[in-house]
């Protein structure tokens, strides 16, 4: 009897491993990405805080996205940048400057620039690249993060992908497919940034980390926090919402 219960225990403990072994790395990434972005679309309000040892700056914004191809981001504070908007349609990005009444087409290389002085790049916010489409994925192990067992997946950018990283290592929790820890490496293999997903709450009807911390490597006391204040998934939104006309009008 004792032996049987041991056997059952061993089998039970193996179960999740056996189950996930059937999932490929790309499937895990796909599920995690759908969960964080919504299968069809998402819209939300967030606050970004740039933290440095002696000061902080806050930026608030509203964003709408559809798939990985379309997004619209509107800055709502600070006062200096209020009303500035960014539109992404497939491979093209426009910036709206309300004070000068002008939309400016942005070069793709600008996507890798820091987003308004933060540790996030423009690309992280406007989501030019896709963790599903732009990388080759490999399951390389498992690891515990914040008490949750995670898949460890290595992402190597495809040759033509609009990505600045040499390699990305993502830790995605096995139960709810949450991206809990992601490391970004440069082309020489050095760690550049670590992104942590924290404060897991129900957002838009699903469990998600509501707080993302982007921590630059080897820079004591520096990080950028993004707090998701509102989030809705798969609301009816048309592709025509992501237009130059709407970039100028959205409030």
């Amino acid at each position: 009897m004792k032996q049987l219960s041991y056997l059952i225990l061993i089998l039970l403990s193996l179960c999740p491993v056996l189950l996930v072994a059937q999932e490929t790395a790309i499937e895990i990434i796909q599920i995690a990405d759908d969960r964080a972005r919504g299968v069809e679309s998402s819209q939300g309000v967030m606050k970004m805080t740039i933290v440095r040892p002696t000061w902080q700056r806050e930026i608030t914004m509203k964003s709408w996205s559809m798939g990985s191809g379309y997004s619209l981001t509107l800055i709502t504070s600070p006062a200096r940048d209020k009303g500035t908007a960014f539109l992404k349609r497939e491979g093209e990005i426009w910036n709206w400057q309300p004070s000068i009444d002008r939309s400016i087409k942005l070069p793709p290389s600008m996507m890798m620039q820091s987003w308004m002085g933060s540790d996030f790049t423009n690309d992280d916010l406007v989501r030019e690249s896709s963790i599903v489409v732009d990388y080759e994925h490999k399951l390389i192990g498992e690891e515990e993060v914040e008490g949750l067992m995670c898949h460890v997946i290595e992402l190597i950018p495809k040759p033509e992908a609009p990505v600045v990283w040499g390699k990305v290592v993502a830790r995605i929790d096995k139960k709810d497919y949450l991206q809990l820890k992601t490391e970004f490496f440069d082309e020489d293999g050095f760690l550049v940034n670590t992104m942590l997903g924290k404060n897991i709450v129900e957002l838009g009807g699903r469990l998600l980390p509501s707080r993302m911390e982007m921590i630059p490597a080897e820079e004591e006391g520096k990080m950028t926090i993004i707090e998701q204040q509102e989030l809705l998934f798969d609301q009816p939104i048309k592709e025509s919402f992501f237009s130059i006309q709407n970039m100028k009008q959205v409030r």
Partner: protein
């Protein structure tokens, strides 16, 4: 006019105590800034540098009375004092002139030998927008430029990069109709109001998107000339590639020649964060001789964006830290005068809503075989946005 401005002042006073406690979304907004610009000029032929000051407040008021209607009114209140006012290099009449288009929406509160206080509405329009149609009537900015630095297509409100302190630009008293044909294409017709045809600009702009490029074509009448132009904005690999051109053909009576302006440029951001922009302007109305001192008093229009025939532009900028951005722009004209204009800038985010700028404007040109500096200027600007 005065009533309008007083009303604006009252709105602002009401707004101040309200902001902290308001809860539900309101159908209007008020924003703006206060800035202080301290300038030092060194001019050729003057022993002493000139010191000048400008305190500048801007109020941007928007009201959304109905789903389809927007009212936008923006005012700038400026107080000038210092050597420029004392020496009558700046005076009230001049400021009034520069502010106004067809209608007088400017008030000179004080015009003394030592200081000048002026208020102007540089935006005052009503917009109706429904489905794909937008109609705007009133004082507005019509910005048709597509390139980064020089904009020959900007036939309503041409911009000069030396005038860094007025990025909003003066408005035109105009009517604009815009119809969106798709997500990145539109057709626009605009006309500004002028007493005579020589003061009027009426033109049509067609924008479309193909092969991941934005394109535009314009045709019309611009202050005495038939104008025809076009532009593009796209990418070569991951670098931005933009340009625009315009041809101005006079009516015939004036006897002047056809003018042509072309500008183009490339911009790129390196992984390190260094921004690099390279551009060129051909201006058939430009000269090949003379000094750079003309940069501040030539008649800037889309037809004549820079005093010289050729100009090469190089700009680099680099974020030193998250709070400090540094940059330097060079404009060189490979003409007989060999003019060089250098514009270094440092921008510091001092606090959440406070910015500090240090700006230099330096110049050199060849004069009678020798290189001289006709002027150099330094600016310190502190800005509080709300």
């Amino acid at each position: 006019m005065k009533k309008l401005l007083s009303l604006f002042g009252i709105i602002w006073l009401i707004y101040l105590p309200v902001t902290s406690q308001e809860e539900k979304p309101r159908n209007w907004s008020l924003s703006g800034y206060v800035k202080n610009l301290q300038s030092v000029y060194s001019l050729q032929g003057l022993d002493q540098p000139l010191l000048d000051n400008l305190i500048h407040n801007r109020l941007n008021f928007r009201w959304y009375p109905h789903e389809h209607w927007t009212v936008r009114v923006e005012a700038r209140n400026r107080l000038f004092y210092g050597d420029f006012v004392q020496l009558n290099l700046i005076n009230g009449d001049q400021i009034e002139m520069g502010n106004n288009d067809r209608f007088d929406l400017s008030v000179l509160w004080i015009d003394k030998p030592s200081w000048v206080l002026n208020s102007t509405l540089d935006r005052a329009y009503v917009q109706y927008a429904k489905n794909s149609l937008e109609v705007r009537v009133g004082r507005q900015r019509i910005n048709w430029g597509i390139n980064t630095v020089w904009n020959p297509n900007d036939i309503f409100n041409a911009f000069s990069f030396t005038d860094f302190d007025y990025e909003e630009r003066p408005g035109s008293d105009a009517i604009l109709m815009r119809y969106y044909l798709g997500t990145a294409s539109s057709i626009e017709i605009a006309t500004n109001l002028g007493d005579t045809w020589d003061e009027r600009t009426t033109a049509m702009l067609f924008k479309w998107n193909a092969l991941q490029y934005d394109f535009q074509l314009l045709a019309g009448w611009a202050s005495g000339d038939y104008v025809f132009g076009g532009g593009w904005a796209g990418n070569i690999k991951t670098a931005g590639f933009k340009g625009e051109w315009s041809v101005f053909t006079p009516d015939g009576a004036g006897g002047t020649e056809t003018s042509f302006a072309l500008s183009s440029g490339i911009d790129y951001v390196f992984g390190s964060g260094i921004f690099l922009g390279l551009g060129y302007l051909y201006n058939s109305n430009g000269t090949t001789t003379g000094t750079l001192a003309t940069l501040f008093n030539f008649n800037l229009t889309a037809k004549n964006l820079y005093p010289f025939k050729h100009a090469i532009f190089l700009q680099t900028s680099y974020p030193l830290t998250s709070l400090i951005n540094t940059g330097i722009a060079w404009i060189y004209s490979p003409v007989e005068a060999q003019t060089l204009f250098v514009n270094p800038t440092v921008t510091v985010s001092v606090a959440q809503n406070w910015d500090l700028d240090l700006i230099g404007q330096l110049s050199w040109n060849k004069d009678q075989g020798k290189f001289i500096s006709p002027f150099s200027a330094g600016f310190l600007r502190i800005k509080f946005s709300f």
